[in-house]
Amino acid sequence: MSSLSFSTPAVEVLSANKTYANGYQALLPVNLSIQEGEFVTLLGPSGCGKSTLLKMVAGLLEPSDGRILLWRKPVADLQASGKTMSFVFQSPTLMPWADVATNVRLPLDLMGTPKSEAKERVMEALELVGLEKFANALPRALSGGMQMRVSIARGLVTEPDLLLMDEPFGALDEITRHRLDADLLSLWAKKKLTVIFVTHSIHEAVFLSNRVVMMAARPGHIIQEHIIDEPYPRTQEFMVRTEFMRHAQVLQKSLEHASESIN
């Protein structure tokens, strides 16, 4: 990881925490630094604040205290620094009345990108996720996995520097999920993205990430960071290697340990 340690931090979370108005502590003060080009996974059980942390990085939630910087600037000033960010939700979150191409074009339309350029980029994004033939289909005509691909295409169409994904494949079947995980890795390698990926699947975390940030609940906090120092590209074959199992076991143990100390 030494090659990354000298590059620019894309995301800096500086003792940010979240307590809701009703007194519920979603997240204790958290410190986290993510380098440009890193693939970081937030892993933990439900209620550990991983989605809260992600939404604070996105600017969807304000931290109660502490700060979050993107490329050394406050989240709200991201545009001024010439960087872009995309958010992919747990559900596809598409407009049911609009066809696939219109859904993918939405962020470009909102920015006011010229029509002809937007059209080209939409086709590129749809090709990346293998859905170019479905540009004119309505979302409900597609399977859950394909809808999620549309959502990812919409996330990629703006060519973001930072991609935030909130359990994007959690609702999909195992086979579809493996395929989308593999697709995501090749996109990440191709586009040199910085990715923060939220999941509760240990296997998904080990397969995808440079680094796994483990979190525990009541109240949400970071328990440990674990580096997955395995080379890319990673294929399905990686998932049956002993190194994969070793990493998975380390994560499993520390998550169990954390939940024991609470109960």
Binding site: F87, F89, P139, R140
Partner: protein, 269 residues
Amino acid sequence: MTPNSSQHALSLALQKIGIPLLLGLIFLGAWQAFVVVMDLPPYLVPSPVLMVQTLVSDWQPLFLALWVTVKITLLSFALATVVGVCISFLFVQSAILERALFPYAVLLQVTPIVSIAPLIIIWVKDTSLSMILCASLVALFPIISNTTLGLKSVEPNLHSYFLLNRASRWQILVRLRIPSALPYFLGGLRISSGLALIGAVVAEFVAGTGGQGSGLAYQILQAGFQLKIPRMFASLLLISLTGVLLFAMMAWLTRWALGGWHESEIKAE
């Protein structure tokens, strides 16, 4: 579609139209038989055949009256739709405005229009205009309440997505709120179209216009005074048919606008 499934669809359509039609014919036949057998005088209960005969023989005045009622209904329906939608837009743009105004919208709704109608007729000189105002008031509320509900029924994550992409209020309204509100708005239209017709008839009862420019309500009143009961029934029939036609048009509009994407218009496989 396989021949089997198209056959199935055909038989379903036949059932949907055929069964109610058959029931109606049986009912009309029984009515006719009852009137003939009991030898009821036409000024008490006219037979269906006499009703149709009257419709044909009195076609000229009835058609003119129908045209007046339809005109008032459609104008009030249009006015209620435009005003209702504008009020809903205001409501979703400002919570304070909604809190301030919504109780009065309810007040307007719960006050029987018959009791306000004489006031409106006194205040507004032009009879047609006063009737349009009355009928619009009757039809207004479902549009306001449904459209407001619809404009607020936006998928929260999709709303977040728009906010993340720095969408303006206008972009959120046009690209997110209006399409999301469409099913609710169309539901409101269905209710209001019927209410506009009711409002138009009630307003004319109260206004009691005579001579030129009088609608079906006047025909009913007049027929009552003169004991021309078959003509009264013929007028009633025309009002009902107008209502059915309005409803069918709204149903068609809904299918046209929502077909393909909204749950209400999609058949389970």
